[in-house]
C-alpha cells in the first residue's frame, strides 16, 4: 500500500521508498524505514495530507506520498 491511499486515522509502518530524489529529505524529516506513522488528515482540498511522525507533524503532497510504501498495522 502507498501512503496516499491510507485512510485518515490509520497507523502504518514505513517499508521503503520508491523515488530516490526525495528519499533523503524524508529521512531528514524523521521518516525512516520501520518508523510508525499515523495519517492525521487531509488539507481541505484533499491535498496535501498530514501525518504524525515521532513527536512531529509533517505535511506532504499526495504526489510525494505515493512514493512511500507502507504496511497497515493493527
Amino acid at each position: 500500500m502507498r501512503l496516499h491511499q491510507v485512510p485518515i486515522g490509520q497507523k502504518v509502518k514505513i517499508l521503503e521508498f520508491q523515488h530516490r530524489g526525495i528519499f533523503l529529505k524524508l529521512l531528514e524529516m524523521g521518516l525512516l524505514p520501520d518508523t510508525i506513522i499515523e495519517v492525521l488528515g487531509k488539507a481541505p482540498l484533499g491535498d496535501p495530507i498530514y501525518i504524525a511522525v515521532h513527536q512531529t507533524f509533517v505535511a506532504l503532497r499526495k504526489s510525494e506520498a505515493q512514493n512511500i510504501v507502507v504496511q497497515i498495522i493493527v
Binding site: L24, E28, L32, A43, P44, Y50, Q55, T56, F57
Partner: protein, 700 residues
C-alpha cells in the same frame, strides 16, 4: 568570540537568538543571495563580547533550498570573515532523534559545539527523561538545557560559551563507514585545500557545483575526481544519513527514557487542526483572519497615517514661515521633508502587517495557511504563503512585498514580489473613483446592480487576474529552480511570544525606513525639482503673464492660477507636453502627461496634480476636480475630453503601470538588484500602454 546558531526549523532558534541579543541585532543579507542574515552581539559572564550569526533553519548539511545552501557556504568557506569559533546547535529536546542528525554533521566538520536542548520544559512534561551528563559524554560536547520562551538556561549557556573560549575543547573524530572506499581521495582534497578533516573534504566533493567560493578550475578538478572514482552523491548521502541515525539511535537509547505521561503536547494541536484544517471551518476562519489583516492595514492604519501627513504639513509650514525665502528652504520643506514624510507614512501599515504576520508565524498558523492554499497556489507557481502578500497588496504593495520574506522558496518568493504590484492597491482608489464617477452613469443595472460599483469591481478583478496570470508565465520562464516538492513540518500551536513580535515589527520598520527610505527620498527630490523648476526664467514669465491677464483678481484668487501656469512651464510640464504624441493613441493629453510624471511619487498624486493643472490649487477635492474635468471640451471635436474611452483607458493604465516610487524602492531592497524593479517598470508600463491602447481603441 564568534559564534553561529544553527538548528532545525521550529527548534526555537530565533527565540533563543532574541533571548541572547535582545535588540542588539542587525538584519542584512548573505552575500549574493536574498536570504535574511541576522547578526547580533551579547556579553559573556566575564564582560567580553560575543558576536553571533543566526543561520537559516536546516535539517542537514545537504541543502535542498537556497536558504539551506547559505548555511553550507557560511560554514565551509575558508575566507568567511565571520567563520565561527564555535557553533551552538539548537535542538528540540522532545525530538532528539531527528534533531541530532544536524548536530552530528556539524560536529564531523570539526567545529567546537554546544548542544542546546531547547524547549526542555515541554520534553519533560511529555515524559522524556534525558541524562544530560551522559549525553554530553557520549556526544563529547557540552550540553545545556534551555527554555527559550522563558529565558531559562540562557545564563548557563553563556557560561558554557565562556568555558569553550577559555579551554580549547577536544573535538571528536568521526569515522563514517559510508566513505571508507573514498578515504584516499578525501585525503587528497583535504591536503590540496588545507581542510581540517576528511568530512570537510567530503562536503566539498558533494557540493562543489554550488559552493560559490570555488573557482571554475576547482570545479573541474572535483568533476574529474567524481567521474574517475564513480562517486555517486545521492546514494552516498542517504547511506551516510542512515548510518548517522543508527549511531544516534544507540546514543538515545543509552541516555534517555520515555515515561508514559498523560500530557501530550500534540493532542491539543490535533484537536485544533481538526477545526482549522476543516474544509468549511478551515477556509472560513482563514477568510476571517485575512479580513482582519486587511481591515487593519486598510482602515486602522489610516488614522496614524493622517497624523503623519498632518504633522509633515505642520513642519513644512513652520519652516516655510520661519526660514528666509530661499532655494535651500524650498529644498528642505518641499523636497526633503515631503520625501521623509512619504517614507514615514508607510510605517503604520508595515508595523500592523508585520505584527499580524509575526503572530501567525509564532502561533504556527502560517504553516496551516501554506497547507490550505498549496493546491490552488501551486497551479500558478506560487506558494501557499503567497496569499498573505497578495491580499495585503490590495491595501498597499510596500508592506506586501516586504511580507514575501516569509516565503522560504526563493523562486516562489521572487514571483510573488514581482506580481504583487499588479494587485490594485488603495492608492489607485482615488483615480478609480474620480474616473468612474466621471464616465460611468450613476444608474442601476436590472434594478440592483450599480454600474459604478460594477466598474470598480472589474478594475480590481483585472488586477488580480493579471497578477495570477503573470505568476503563471513567470513560473514557466524564470530561469532558476525552486523545490518541486512540498514536505513541511507543522509546528504545534503555541501562544505568540510578544517580545518576538515586537522585535519583528521594530526590525521591519527600521530596515524599511533606512534602506528603501533613502531611495524614496532621492526619487521624491527629483520629482519635486521637475515640478518646481523650469528652463531659465520660464516660471517667472508664466507668473507675470497670469498677473497681467487678470489684473482685477486678488492675490488669493490668483494663487491657484499661478501654480497651474507654473506647473505647465516647469520641467514636468515640458516633459508632459513632450509625452503627448506618445500617449495620444491612449486618448491622453499633455495634462494627463504631467500627472503621469508627478504621480510616479504615488498614484494618488494624480488627483492633486490634476487639481493644480485645472487651477484649483493644491486643496482641490475629488468632487471639484471631477466637475472641472467633466466640463473640459476637446477643441477639435467639440466633445468632452473625458469620454468613457479615455476614462477606462486611464484606469487600465493605472491598474498595470508601475506608477509608484516606493514600490520601486522596496523591490530593489528585497531583491538586492536593480534588474527586477527596472524590469517591472519597463514591463508593467509597456503592458499598461498596450492595454490602454486596446481599451481606448475598442471603446472610442
Amino acid at each position: 568570540m564568534k559564534l553561529a546558531l544553527i538548528g532545525n526549523p521550529n527548534a526555537g532558534k530565533s527565540s533563543l537568538f532574541n533571548q541572547l541579543t535582545g535588540l542588539n541585532q542587525k538584519v542584512a543579507n548573505f552575500t549574493g543571495v536574498t536570504v535574511e542574515k541576522k547578526t547580533g552581539t551579547f556579553s559573556l559572564p566575564n564582560q567580553s563580547k560575543a558576536y553571533i550569526t543566526d543561520l537559516p533553519g536546516t535539517y542537514s548539511l545537504y541543502p535542498k533550498s537556497a536558504d539551506e545552501q547559505v548555511v553550507l557556504d557560511f560554514l565551509l568557506n575558508p575566507q568567511n570573515p565571520e567563520k565561527p569559533d564555535a557553533i551552538l546547535v539548537v535542538i528540540d529536546a522532545s525530538n532528539l532523534q531527528r534533531n541530532l542528525l544536524l548536530f552530528s554533521e556539524v560536529q564531523s566538520l570539526g567545529f567546537p559545539t554546544i548542544l542546546v536542548l531547547n524547549m526542555i520544559d515541554i520534553a519533560q512534561k511529555s515524559g522524556w527523561e534525558i541524562d544530560t551528563q551522559k549525553l554530553a559524554e557520549r556526544l563529547q560536547s557540552p550540553v545545556v538545557c534551555t527554555n527559550s520562551r522563558s529565558g531559562e538556561g540562557i545564563e548557563k549557556l553563556k557560561e558554557k560559551i565562556l568555558d569553550l573560549e577559555k579551554n580549547q575543547p577536544n573535538i571528536p573524530h568521526t569515522i563514517l563507514q559510508t566513505y571508507a572506499p573514498f578515504e584516499n581521495i578525501l585525503q587528497e582534497i583535504a591536503q590540496k585545500y588545507q581542510l581540517p578533516n576528511t568530512y570537510w573534504a567530503n562536503l566539498y566533493l558533494h557540493h562543489y557545483e554550488k559552493l560559490y567560493f570555488l573557482t571554475e578550475s576547482d570545479k573541474q578538478f572535483f568533476q574529474k575526481l567524481e567521474l574517475k572514482n564513480n562517486f555517486q552523491a545521492l546514494p552516498l548521502q542517504t547511506d551516510e544519513t542512515l548510518e548517522r541515525f543508527r549511531k544516534i539511535e544507540k546514543i538515545i537509547a543509552e541516555t534517555t527514557q520515555k515515561h508514559e505521561k498523560a500530557y501530550n503536547p500534540q493532542s491539543i494541536t490535533r484537536k485544533i487542526d481538526k477545526i482549522l484544517l476543516h474544509p468549511l471551518y478551515g477556509y472560513s476562519s482563514f477568510l476571517m483572519v485575512l479580513l482582519l489583516i486587511f481591515t487593519a492595514i486598510f482602515r486602522w492604519a489610516e488614522i496614524p497615517m493622517e497624523w503623519i501627513e498632518k504633522g509633515t504639513a505642520i513642519l513644512q509650514t513652520f519652516f516655510r514661515e520661519n526660514l528666509p525665502n530661499h532655494f535651500l528652504t524650498n529644498l528642505w520643506t518641499e523636497g526633503i521633508l515631503a520625501g521623509i514624510g512619504s517614507v514615514v507614512t508607510f510605517v503604520p501599515q508595515i508595523a500592523l502587517l508585520f505584527g499580524f504576520i509575526a503572530v501567525l508565524e509564532e502561533t504556527g498558523y502560517m504553516t496551516r495557511v501554506m497547507i490550505m492554499m498549496d493546491k490552488i497556489m501551486r497551479k500558478f507557481g506560487l506558494n501557499g504563503k503567497s496569499v498573505v502578500p497578495l491580499i495585503s497588496g490590495a491595501a498597499c504593495a510596500i508592506p506586501a512585498i516586504m511580507a514575501t520574506r516569509n516565503i522560504d522558496n526563493p523562486k516562489e518568493r521572487l514571483i510573488t514580489t514581482l506580481v504583487v504590484p499588479l494587485i490594485s492597491c488603495s492608492a489607485r482608489l482615488p483615480i478609480y473613483t474620480v474616473m468612474i464617477a466621471l464616465v460611468i452613469p450613476d444608474k442601476m443595472l436590472w434594478g440592483f446592480l450599480h454600474y459604478q460599483a460594477l466598474a470598480l469591481l472589474v478594475m480590481y478583478l483585472l488586477g488580480l487576474l493579471t497578477a495570477m496570470l503573470a505568476a503563471k508565465v513567470l513560473s514557466r520562464f524564470l530561469p532558476f529552480l525552486g523545490n518541486d516538492y512540498f514536505i513541511v513540518e507543522m509546528p504545534t500551536y503555541k501562544m505568540p511570544r510578544w517580545k518576538n513580535v515586537l522585535i519583528t515589527i521594530y526590525e521591519k520598520v527600521k530596515t524599511f525606513v533606512f534602506d528603501a527610505g533613502k531611495v524614496i527620498v532621492v526619487i521624491s527630490l527629483i520629482l519635486w525639482a521637475l515640478a518646481s523648476y523650469g528652463w531659465g526664467d520660464s516660471l517667472e514669465k508664466a507668473e507675470n503673464s497670469i498677473k497681467k491677464s487678470y489684473p482685477t483678481l486678488s492675490e488669493e484668487e490668483l494663487a491657484p492660477l499661478i501654480s497651474s501656469a507654473k506647473l505647465e512651464a516647469s520641467f514636468a510640464g515640458n516633459l508632459g507636453k513632450a509625452l503627448e504624441p506618445i500617449i495620444q493613441p491612449l486618448g491622453f493629453d499633455w495634462k494627463i502627461g504631467i500627472s503621469l510624471i508627478t504621480s510616479f511619487a504615488a498614484r494618488e498624486v494624480f488627483v492633486a496634480t490634476m487639481s493644480v493643472i485645472y487651477g484649483l490649487g493644491n486643496e482641490g477635492n475629488e468632487q471639484s476636480v471631477r466637475q472641472k474635468m467633466a466640463s473640459e471640451i476637446n477643441p477639435q471635436t467639440g466633445k468632452p475630453v473625458y469620454s468613457t474611452a479615455v476614462g477606462f483607458s486611464l484606469m487600465v493604465f493605472y491598474a498595470f503601470a508601475m506608477q509608484c516610487m516606493s514600490t520601486f524602492a522596496i523591490v530593489w531592497k528585497e531583491t538586492r538588484s536593480w534588474k527586477y524593479p527596472l524590469g517591472q517598470l519597463v514591463f508593467f508600463n509597456l503592458l499598461a500602454y498596450l492595454a490602454s491602447y486596446i481599451t481606448y481603441t475598442i471603446l472610442k
